[in-house]
């Protein structure tokens, strides 16, 4: 039996060799989080104001070093448009680095909200099995069967296109996932020996639920959260893309891709491509972190 224990520990080994990947994911996430804090203030232009320069292409790679030194030495009248400007004259670079404030905050708050509510309800539903909690699970089932993107679109569009409403809509579609995950884990943890031991020691049921079962049931929800943050960013951007997300001129990646979309057929690629790269890397970063957490959990 314990020879299997050693085998299982042996199974976790490829982890170390993928550390560079983990480092990459962590770097991306740290940068995005930092931009969410300072992004709107450090850009060369105000991300919500247009400039008179419309549809300026970004400098070619060869020009960048010269431009950069000129900019540093202060010989330029105005800072260069590193990523060009879009058809309305917005500086793409300033908006790309200001957008995490919108995208990441929506994703984090929505996830935090659904995580807290979902874990709380999941703990109750898993620890106390009765008609009321069974009914709750049926409601959760119905909520979970909603088509995710379309539901979010309906909620935001009908409630009004505001950041708060996007957060609520995302929390609505994600909460049932956390309820289900936590409930399942609680049900498997509450029959474990240490729970019975806690009872034998004279703990109250409430005490057992909160001090013993809950901390041991959090892992699946936390792993899910690390993955869902990335998906929430995709969802937020997607909503803006179809016109059911934040309103212009809020700097938001999906909205930027959407405004650039009409120009792309005309060859004006930069207003869409740069924010897209930002989303692509950000969500990938979160996926890498989530995956690393998942592997650690599987190994233990």
């Amino acid at each position: 039996m314990s020879s299997q224990h050693t085998l299982e520990t042996a199974d976790m080994l490829p982890r170390r060799r993928r550390d560079w990947l983990f480092g990459l994911g962590l770097t991306i996430v740290v940068i995005v989080v930092a931009l969410a804090v300072v992004g709107p203030y450090i850009g060369p232009y105000d991300p919500t104001l247009t400039t008179p320069n419309v549809s300026v292409p970004p400098p070619s790679l060869a020009e960048v070093p010269g431009l950069f030194s000129a900019w540093i030495s202060g010989t330029l009248e105005a800072p260069p448009h590193w990523m060009g400007t879009d058809a309305s004259g917005f500086d793409v670079f300033s908006r790309v680095i200001a957008a995490p404030r919108t995208d990441l905050v929506i994703a984090l708050v929505a996830n935090g909200l659904s995580l807290v509510i979902g874990v709380f309800l999941g703990l109750i539903a898993g620890y106390y099995r009765n008609a009321a909690t069974e009914f709750m699970m049926r409601v959760s089932d119905v909520m979970q069967s909603f088509p995710v993107f379309i539901s979010a679109m309906v909620l935001v569009a009908l409630a009004g296109r505001s950041t708060t409403n996007i957060v609520i809509a995302l929390a609505f579609v994600y909460t049932p996932i956390y309820v289900r995950l936590t409930r399942a884990e609680v049900m498997s943890q509450k029959v474990r020996g240490f729970v019975e031991a806690a009872r034998a020691l004279g703990n109250t049921e409430l005490n057992i639920a909160i001090r013993h079962v809950l901390p041991n049931s959090l892992t699946p929800a936390l792993i899910q959260a690390s993955v869902t943050i990335g998906f929430a960013i995709l969802l937020t951007a997607g909503l803006s893309f179809v016109g059911a997300g934040v309103r212009p001129p809020t700097p938001e990646w999906g909205l930027m891709i959407s405004t650039g979309a009409n120009q792309i057929i005309l060859g004006e690629w930069w207003p869409s491509v740069f924010p897209g790269i930002a989303i692509s890397l950000t969500v990938f970063g979160f996926a890498v972190l989530g995956n690393a957490l998942e592997r650690r959990y599987d190994a233990s």
């Binding site: 520990t9 080994l13 020691l201 703990n203």
Partner: protein
């Protein structure tokens, strides 16, 4: 099962037999965090024709890894790093893939400790056995089919035609193990590797299974490498013993010599109890005539069967008493209700009726809050030490939790008490800041005991505390429990299926069958003169670690027939009637009561009370 004397004379240890398998310097490694961990590191030994060789070692000593490596396999991502495995004069590790595949299953069969997960869950077992046979033998479809049925019958499966159609998840553990042995022996291998084949099986089935395996192999003329953690298995079935410690063989001796005079310190440790103490550990005597510390009267527990109105009778009118400083052993097979009795005593399960009087107070009648206060006096240690400690807490927090609940000690006093507890169970205080993860079963079980001791309890339920421990940890734990009883005067209820351990630890024993106590008495009485047919069967099936009185050399008394009746529809009369070798018509009609005999022994069998059943003396008294 009667064995002829001739078979004994043919014992391979007396012959200069040919070598079947010769292992030299075998090394198997698993990459862990970039470096190689080598569970098998320089393994060398030989197995001769028709020999039964036992391989014993602690958990993690590399036994299972070694077993696979003998076939040139390692569980991914492990790798065989070096050495020779010579079989029939050829080094298996150097053979091309196709040739070694031909040897696996044909010349070397293997059965493993997790039979159900080793059978393909998606194929009927008959089909799987057939595939294994086809892989090594030219045969038509009907021949394969006939062979499958023949093999299933040979390993003792009733109604093989319909069992062949079953899937693995529909089989019991014992049944799946038999299917596996049918597969392993279908091509008459010259060597059978049996890796803890009986772990997870009940005592009575365990002996039956090993008997069948032993008999079958005697017929096919195979040699056996029997990997085990049980001294009893070693003593009763093996001709020679190999001791595996830290990846290599540290002792290689004929079985009697091994038990009589072990050489390596590890061997001496695992045999310590047998060698120093014989059968008894010198338990502290119990004061006679005082009021018992704890007594249950007519304790009953029923469970509702889901979606029906039927009830499962888990515990049926159990009355027992435990004196101060006394240990009562509660033995029986799985499903006998012994664990439920322990839970009901502490009201971890609410008894359906009956009383549990502890120190003059009926616990069953206490309101929940008062019961919670009583819990400091009555504690429990569970079977699985890995599972019974909160994995997120440090050992210190685990040990101070009961103090938080039941005392008003200062933080400094609690810290001191935690350290005291660690000393008490012989653990290093440095472990206090670690989490349970990564500690061995033995250490974890000591922490469980320390936690139970935190508030100076008077009574502890020990629910199979030694059953998942490796041999060495088991010896240590038994000694610890006896010492604690001597020093602290605690009373134990020791629940176990392992009669060897019960005999070391207990003053009295109660035998349970289907929720009832069928026999109670002192350890002496029950072990040397069991009166109830079920106790007799249980004792005769137990493998005592005594190579001078081997099961395979002696005549085994009749075993119980058939299977345990369902606890939902219990028979009206004696519960054992359908399986008892002494059954008469009256047994089936009359419910049996626990009747006292002379000397304080009592038994639930009217024929035994009437003196119609011979006291059975074959057990190792």
């Amino acid at each position: 099962m009667h064995r002829e004397a001739a078979a004994v004379a043919e014992r391979p240890e007396t012959m200069a037999a040919r070598t079947v398998l010769s292992v030299e310097n075998l090394v198997v490694g698993y990459p862990v965090d970039g470096r190689m961990v080598k569970p098998v590191d320089g393994l060398s030994f030989k197995v001769h024709e028709r020999e039964v060789v036992g391989l014993i070692g602690d958990a993690g000593s590399g036994k299972s890894t070694a077993a696979l490596a003998l076939l040139g396999l390692a569980r991914p991502p492990g790798k065989i790093l070096g050495g020779r495995v010579e079989f029939d004069g050829r080094d298996l590790l150097k053979l091309p893939e196709a040739e070694i595949r031909a040897i696996r299953g044909r010349d070397i069969g293997i059965i493993v400790q997790n039979p159900r997960s080793s059978l393909n869950p998606m194929l009927r077992i008959g089909k799987q056995i057939g595939y294994a046979y086809e892989a090594h033998n030219q045969a038509s479809g009907t021949e394969v089919r006939r062979k499958v049925i023949e093999m299933l019958r040979m390993v003792g499966i009733n109604d093989p035609e319909s069992r062949a159609e079953a899937y693995a998840h529909e089989l019991s553990g014992g049944m799946a193990q038999r299917a596996l042995i049918a597969m392993a022996l279908s091509s008459k291998p010259k060597l059978l590797i049996a890796d803890e084949p009986t772990s997870g099986l009940d005592v009575t089935i365990q002996a039956q299974f090993l008997d069948e395996m032993w008999n079958t192999v005697q017929k096919t003329g195979s040699a056996i490498l029997l990997i085990t953690q049980e001294l009893g298995t070693l003593a009763n079935y093996c001709d020679r013993v190999l001791v595996l410690h830290e990846g290599r063989i540290v002792e290689d001796a004929p079985v009697r010599q091994f038990f009589a005079n072990p050489q390596h310190p590890y061997s001496q440790q695992i045999l310590k109890l047998q060698r120093e103490r014989g059968h008894s550990l010198g338990l502290p005597p119990v004061e006679a005539g005082t009021r018992p510390l704890l007594a249950t009267t007519d304790l009953r527990k029923t469970f509702a069967v889901r979606h029906t109105k039927k009830l499962i009778q888990a515990v049926d009118k159990v009355s027992l008493t435990i004196g101060r400083g006394e240990t009562l052993g509660l033995v029986g097979e799985s499903g006998s209700g012994k664990t439920t009795v322990g839970r009901c005593m502490l009201r971890l399960l609410e008894p359906s009726s009956g009383s549990v009087v502890f120190d003059g107070e009926d616990l069953v009648k206490l309101p929940p809050n008062d019961m919670r206060r009583y819990r400091s006096k009555l504690q429990i240690v569970f079977q699985d030490p890995f599972d019974s400690l909160n994995p997120r807490w440090s050992i210190r927090r685990i040990l101070t939790e009961p103090l938080d609940l039941h005392t008003k000690l200062s933080t400094a006093d609690k810290r001191r008490r935690a350290e005291e507890l660690m000393d008490l169970v012989d653990l290093d205080r440095a472990l206090l800041d670690r989490r349970p993860r990564g500690l061995g079963a033995g250490a974890l079980q000591r922490i469980n005991i320390a936690r139970a001791l935190a508030c100076n309890p008077e009574f502890i339920v020990l629910d199979e505390p030694t059953s998942v421990l490796s041999p060495r940890a088991r010896v240590g734990l038994i000694e610890l429990l006896v010492r604690l009883q001597k020093e602290l005067g605690i009373s134990y209820l020791f629940i176990s299926h392992d009669l060897t351990t019960v005999r070391y630890l207990c003053h009295k024993v109660s035998v349970m069958y289907l929720g009832q106590i069928v026999e109670t008495g002192t350890v002496e009485q029950v072990f040397s003169k069991p009166r109830h047919p079920y106790s007799q069967a249980l004792l005769s099936a137990h493998l005592f670690p005594d190579p001078t009185n081997r099961r395979v050399d002696s005549v085994i008394p009749a075993a119980l027939e058939g299977e345990i009746p369902s606890p939902i529809d219990l028979p009206h009369g004696c519960y054992l009637a359908s399986r008892c070798p002494h059954v008469v018509e009256a047994c089936r009609a009359t419910p049996q009561a626990l009747e006292p005999l002379e000397g304080g022994q009592s038994v639930r069998c009217w024929r035994a009370v009437a003196g119609e059943i011979q006291a059975f003396g074959g057990a190792h008294a």
